[in-house]
Amino acid sequence: MITSDLPAYRVWAEQPLTQPPKYSVVIPAYNEAERILPTVGAIAVHMSSLGEPWELIVADDGSTDDTVDLLQALELANLHVLIAERNGGKGSAVRRGVFAARGDVVLFADADQSTPIEQFGDLLATIERGHDVAIGSRAADGAAVANKSMLRKVLSKGLNLLVRFGFGVPFADTQCGFKMFTSEAAETLFTYQIVDQFSFDLEILYLAQNRFDMKVAEVPVEWIDAPGSTVDATKVAIEFLRDMCQIKWFDIRGRYARANHVRPAPSHHLRAIAS
């Protein structure tokens, strides 16, 4: 018999949770008006099908297009839109989303569905086996990568060698936009985060590995390069190298010896969600 996930989705879409969510999904979004609605739809149906309370948080990053208006017009009961006055970088958007999240487990996922939400269960299984962080990996054995350009493949490979052997972060892929944390790990890592730009993932993994000795596992995922991506791979690679040096420098100077952000108190947090 074919079962439908629609009834569970309808409940999620129409009835605000009456208990804390078990899962939080955070999507950072900057000028994603073209892509965000299909992504919300796919995530909402899949997550609702799991049968656990969950919330979706879209952390806008100062979009100048209709991203926020489109999301607010949906009036989905458990979708929370965090509005930013200005563009602060992907890392800052994810941090705001993580700080607003109430779930026991927090996933951040890119807005383009390049890693399909159906991989949620694979990362969750890793967390449930006792890991603090589970990172989607396009380079681990078993990963499936489609439509990635040769330039991006070569740059990724070269940068990864540097990350592994020169930076002390022993993962084959640090930049996949699909990462899961226990709530405790998420709060700790993003409290100490400094980098607000593209390389924030690298910093988070550096902290998890070198400062907090967390259990981190790479999970192979399916990944489809997002059509219409405007990422300039060469520019991003240069910024990545710069950020890698900066993170080391921050560490040498003791910038990670203390928290760099404070998670907003619950009352503030609720106001942020309501905005």
């Binding site: 996930d5 629609l6 892509r35 299909p38 919300v40 149906v45 489809i224 059509p227």
Partner: protein
Amino acid sequence: MQLVTDRKNTERPGLVLAGRFDAFETDAFREAADALLAQGSSSISVDMSDVIFVDSSGLSELVRTMKHCREAGGELYINSPSDPVRVIFELTRLDAAFTIVDA
């Protein structure tokens, strides 16, 4: 994505899609849909029961094909969309534009 043309119903030939319908797949879809229209079909059925995700490019392509069908005096029928596709249609308000047929 998998794309199969089904000509068994000559009045309303069909395209059967499976997988992910995004910008990487729209050229193949357009070629298949235009071929059916060029062969004299004014209506096309698109089976989306096994489509797991459709992005804005795929949605645009469906709208384009719907317009061409209507210009030819016919209709584009979306057959049994999967749950995520149905919700994506709803969130983008395209459920009101498309003719959706459930099995």
